[in-house]
């Protein structure tokens, strides 16, 4: 086999695959954050906690109701989305007229509560979640061995991201959404129920986080703290991308996952910080982010 800069190809492709997997989660989460931010103008700090909640819903469904992975893929986003809708109706709604920072503080508090409750209930250590039978095994691609489950995660998240992009950018519903992002008052004047749209958008955004949580459950263990470190990286991804466009957040998510994977191959010490370094460089070069609009 050939070697690239002294790196065996198995290691390189292996890390690139991990990078793509992480990138899938970054993309799903930053997409949710972007959609929520577009309409609600808040940065959803409890996104990581709701991602964790999605993984736990899958775990609990299996433990207590015998509902497997495929059911969980639907149940978790619905349950967490419903929880999000309750949050929006009862709390977030009161903050729209205030400074946006209050939304961040409120959702930070909610994240503390949700993570605290789960930690209280399940301890801080991880709980295993097995890969469904139909997705076990791996296939040999010649240059690397690709586990089926990982291929599935990348494919599904790519599909969900692109479907979301299509709905928002190419359908009538998406047009209402984009219009309400630009000028909610005017859209409401045209007879569109903007408050309901806001509620559903929030539910959809956190549903994406829950879906990412279910996808992550078999790869990482299900743990109450799984979301809190991830969310900071996703914030960096969101700032690098610029929250200006849907496609931008998807591309940035996958791209940064890959860069992180490459860093693990060539300079492992920096793999935890590379995204933050990129964040600093991007801010110096293009403060509005790669896909952001100048304010």
């Amino acid at each position: 086999m050939f070697e690239l800069l002294g790196i065996p190809p198995q290691a390189l492709f292996g890390q690139l695959l991990i990078g793509l997997i992480n990138g899938s989660f970054y993309a799903l989460l930053s997409l949710g954050l972007t959609v929520i931010f577009g309409l609600l103008n808040i940065i959803n700090f409890c996104h990581g906690a709701l991602y964790m909640m999605g993984a736990f819903v899958a775990w609990l469904a299996l433990q207590h109701f015998g509902l497997g992975y495929w059911a969980a893929l639907f149940i978790a986003p619905v349950v967490v989305g419903a929880f999000g809708i309750v949050l929006e109706r009862t709390m977030l709604r009161r903050l729209y007229k205030l400074d946006h920072l209050y939304g961040l503080l409120l959702t930070f508090g909610i994240a503390l509560i949700v993570e605290g409750v789960f930690r209280n209930e399940f301890g801080a250590s991880g709980l295993p979640y097995v890969i469904p039978d139909s997705l076990t095994g791996a296939r040999n691609l010649g240059f690397m061995v690709l586990p089926n489950y990982r291929a599935w995660v990348i494919a599904l998240s790519l599909f969900v991201c692109l479907a979301t992009w299509y709905v928002i950018e190419r359908t009538k519903l998406g047009a209402y959404l984009r219009a309400a992002t630009e000028n909610p008052t005017l859209v409401q004047a045209f007879g569109i129920n903007v408050p309901r749209m806001i509620t559903l958008t929030y539910g959809f955004g956190v549903g994406l986080a829950a879906l990412a949580g279910v996808l992550a459950a078999p790869i990482y263990q299900v743990s109450p703290l799984m979301g809190s470190n991830l969310i900071i990286v996703v914030f960096a991804v969101v700032v690098i991308g610029g929250m200006g466009s849907i496609m931008g957040s998807i591309v940035t998510g996958f791209l940064l996952g890959l860069i992180e994977g490459l860093t693990k191959v060539f300079y492992p010490e920096a793999s935890a910080t590379v995204i933050f370094v990129i964040l600093a460089l991007v801010l110096l070069w293009r403060p509005q982010g790669l896909f952001g609009r100048r304010s």
């Binding site: 808040i42 940065i43 709390m91 009161r94 903050l95 205030l98 400074d99 946006h100 920072l101 209050y102 961040l104 503080l105 409120l106 930070f108 508090g109 909610i110 994240a111 503390l112 509560i113 949700v114 993570e115 605290g116 409750v117 930690r119 209280n120 900071i232 990286v233 914030f235 960096a236 969101v238 700032v239 010490e269 935890a272 910080t273 995204i275 933050f276 370094v277 964040l279 600093a280 801010l283 110096l284 403060p287």
Partner: protein
């Protein structure tokens, strides 16, 4: 974030002076009744919260990364005292300078964006500091730097004596507090408030807004560093907890609970939160939940905070 308006009163300065005097006397007398190490810790966190409040309350910048300055200063001071054998005053100075230096770099990057972006950027940058501290050999990894020696301050004050240490920490806290008070009531502080209220207008009046923001950021990070370095000597420990993002969240909580943009609010908030952590430690993870609930209640129903509400009732700025 604009602080909720409080009716301006000419007697505010006198009230503030009286409250300050009461606070100083109470803190000087308190060790007779309350465990001094707890009080010293509370004062360090109160200074930390005041430093944070300088940014959020008077410039309207929400930093979610102040743990980086607090924790890094704590490490540098502990390392300077233990490994380099520097006397306490130089160890504290080294910690403060390190925090100010990092603050200058982070500030220069973060002030390129406003609002929630500013919060996310400071959070991300501080996470970088956290990973650095996790990996760098001098921080001792998970163990931290333990048994930080307490030498003679200025060669004469033996800090191993708790009363002397208490007096020194009290002096640092009151000094830092008065410095912040002076800054926010100076012409410089007035410009900061103008930027908070209406940034485009401040620009159009000819102020170089970015320079003001950067100076405020460096001041705030240095003072947070002063608090962190002092804390390293008080508890004789510098650890990853100090530099973790949850510490950044805690200082936000202290300031929010006490009252954003109030003079005394951060002190009250810090004392309440530290007391909760100290006396309710057996609650374990319920403590996190309680902190989350305080966040939610403060944001939804209690945005002025404790001191802000008191000030409104009295019709004075506190």
């Amino acid at each position: 974030m604009a602080a909720p308006p409080v009716t301006r009163s000419d007697t505010s300065f006198r009230t503030q002076a009286i409250v300050f005097a009461i606070m100083a006397v109470a803190l000087a007398a308190a060790p007779a009744a309350i465990y001094p190490v707890f009080l010293m810790k509370a004062m360090c966190f109160a200074l930390f919260a005041c430093a944070f409040n300088l940014l959020i309350g008077y410039v309207g910048l929400l930093s979610f990364g102040h743990a980086a300055f607090f924790g890094m200063a704590s490490y540098v001071a502990a390392h300077a005292a233990k490994v380099w054998g520097l006397p306490p005053e130089l160890a504290i100075l080294a910690g403060t300078a390190a925090a100010g230096g990092i603050g200058a770099v982070f500030g220069a990057i973060a002030i390129r964006r406003q609002g929630i972006y500013f919060a996310m950027i400071t959070l991300a940058l501080s996470q970088m500091v956290y990973f650095f501290c996790l990996q760098a050999p001098f921080t001792g990894g998970e163990d931290g730097i333990q048994a930080v020696p307490l030498g003679n301050m200025f060669g004469v004050l033996d800090l191993k004596d708790t009363t002397t240490l208490y007096a020194v920490v009290l002096a640092i806290f009151l000094g830092g507090f008065l410095f912040i008070y002076r800054v926010i009531h100076s012409p410089f502080g007035q410009v900061l408030k103008a930027i908070r209220e209406n940034e485009p207008r401040a620009i159009s009046l000819g102020y170089s807004v970015d320079r003001y923001k950067l100076i405020a950021f460096v001041l705030s990070s240095s003072l947070a560093g002063l608090a962190g370095a002092t804390k390293a000597l008080v508890v004789q420990l510098a650890s990853l907890t100090d530099v973790h993002w949850s510490m950044s969240g805690e200082v936000v909580l202290m300031t929010l609970l006490g009252g954003l943009g109030t003079v005394f609010g951060p002190v009250v908030g810090a004392v309440v939160i530290i007391a909760m952590q100290n006396y309710l430690a057996q609650l374990g993870s319920w403590l996190t939940i309680a902190q989350g609930v305080i966040f939610v209640v403060c944001v939804l129903a209690f945005r002025r905070g404790i001191v802000g509400e008191l000030g409104r009732l009295m019709g004075k700025r506190l």
